[in-house]
């Protein structure tokens, strides 16, 4: 499913998910009014219905919803209740501000590029074929550019018996429920886990579904996760109040 195809029907916003962060960044609605839990549930349900995963689109969704989640949670966290988090409305405002300014920078740079294209349009370049006498490659102008051993190596590869059958293209089925069990079991044994360490060797589909499992756990209050920098390690921490998680689960299933 393309990220843009997820239709949302929230209290303050109805339309494609695609547009949600955009209108937040453009200050057309306040992030505080948006129920992000509903967005994630809608996506996970949609994904389960579809039964297959477009990794590119899923990554895009994750990036967008994670940004929304982080910004909103920081905006709403009252500092006095969670002093150890050291994140208050001030930091949240700074975070959202940084995102808005980053967006504006590229919006304005884009506008500048558009003006530049307009300004450059009158300079036309020639697109004529070469005269016939220059179209033929001259052997005299040729110098050695390749190593003959490259051919020997290629020949050796072709003579080799085929390697054992590559089955990586056969997609395993990965169920969200199963991944939830796996992550819950891990979090019972250790309060913190490193995503790459635990799941780095899994195939991409399993990794992606595990991320959804983490989103689900985050929504139920069973786990939090953080990533300090883009593409940096993801650290997952379990919440000790397991009963909270149970309640949330029961509520959703009732």
């Amino acid at each position: 499913m393309r990220t843009a195809d997820l239709e949302l029907d929230l209290d303050v916003f109805a339309g494609p998910f695609d547009l949600l962060l955009a209108i937040v960044l453009r200050e057309e609605i306040s992030l505080l009014e948006v129920e992000l839990g509903d967005v994630v549930v809608a996506y996970v349900e949609h994904l389960e219905e579809e039964g297959e995963l477009d990794l590119e689109a899923a990554t895009e969704f994750l990036v967008l919803v994670a940004a929304l989640l982080e910004l909103k949670s920081r905006l709403m966290l009252p500092t006095e209740e969670e002093p150890e988090l050291d994140l208050g409305p001030e930091e949240a405002a700074d975070e959202l501000l940084a995102r808005m300014l980053e967006y504006r920078r590229y919006r304005d740079a884009g506008a500048e590029l558009s003006r530049r294209l307009e300004r450059e349009a009158p300079y036309l370049h020639r697109a004529a074929p070469l005269p016939a006498e220059l179209r033929r490659v001259s052997i005299e102008a040729a110098r050695q550019a390749y190593d003959p051993d490259r051919l020997g190596v290629a020949l050796g590869d072709l003579l080799s018996a085929p390697p054992t059958l590559d089955t990586s293209h056969i997609r395993p089925t990965v169920s969200l429920e199963r991944r939830l069990e796996v992550v819950r079991a891990l979090l019972q044994r250790a309060s913190r886990i490193d995503f790459d360490e635990q799941f780095g060797s899994e195939d991409r589909l399993t990794q992606a579904v595990t991320i959804f499992a983490l989103l689900e756990l985050h929504k139920k209050g069973e786990a939090t996760w953080s990533q300090r920098s883009n593409f940096g390690p993801i650290e997952v921490s379990g919440q000790r109040t397991a009963t909270g998680g149970q309640t949330a689960k029961a509520r959703r299933e009732s």
Partner: protein, 195 residues
């Protein structure tokens, strides 16, 4: 050609740039003309003077990492009539934003573009690719396609290279504007957090 005068070398360079389908880097001109870098620089200076804007129908430009001849804007209307060349359509706002992100942050993946723009950028990325302004540059370690700008981008935007892009910090708001925006965000948060 080492015995040729600077004027003759300038004529040769003009002819080479006339023939070459793409901008030619200085190094390739030196090799083709079999001259020293100083000799070639002098010839380019001379040629630039002869083809200075307003003097002739063609001008010398440094674009996309090399040298190219292009027509003077004076001829644009007549050229479009003669060759029936349509004007390149302007960029939409979405395409311009996406192109700016690719140009400044390359190589960059679509999820990263979406993160900054706050909106899925599939169709903008596709159109920019079809127009030859961006191209795939492999995959990130998470398997997402990553993009970079093309030589055509630099040529159409009159850039001698990526370092010729205007400094991105030029587009940042004044500290006053930023402080004002922050204040508004903070007030919204406080209203909400209050019971």
């Amino acid at each position: 050609m080492s015995d040729g005068s600077a004027a003759e070398l300038a004529r040769t360079v003009e002819a080479l740039l006339f023939l070459a389908p793409d901008p030619v880097p200085t190094g390739e001109l030196i090799e083709a003309c079999e001259v020293s870098e100083v000799q070639l620089r002098n010839a380019l200076d001379l040629l630039a003077e002869e083809l200075a804007p307003g003097r002739r129908g063609i001008v010398l430009r440094e674009v996309a990492g090399g040298w190219a001849l292009a027509t003077d804007p004076v001829a644009e209307a007549a050229a479009r009539r003669l060759l029936a060349r349509p004007k390149t359509p302007p960029l939409t706002a979405a395409q311009a934003e996406t192109l700016a992100i690719v140009a400044y942050l390359q190589p960059v993946s679509r999820p990263e573009i979406a993160r900054i723009r706050g909106v899925s950028s599939e169709s903008a990325v596709q159109t920019l690719g079809e127009r030859g302004l961006i191209e795939e540059a492999g995959r990130s370690r998470f398997g997402a396609v990553i993009y970079r700008t093309t030589a055509l981008f630099e040529r159409l935007f009159g850039l001698s290279g990526l370092e010729d892009l205007p400094d991105a910090s030029k587009f940042d708001p004044t500290p006053e504007d930023a402080a004002d925006l922050r204040e508004r965000l903070l007030r919204a948060g406080e209203q909400r957090a209050a019971p």
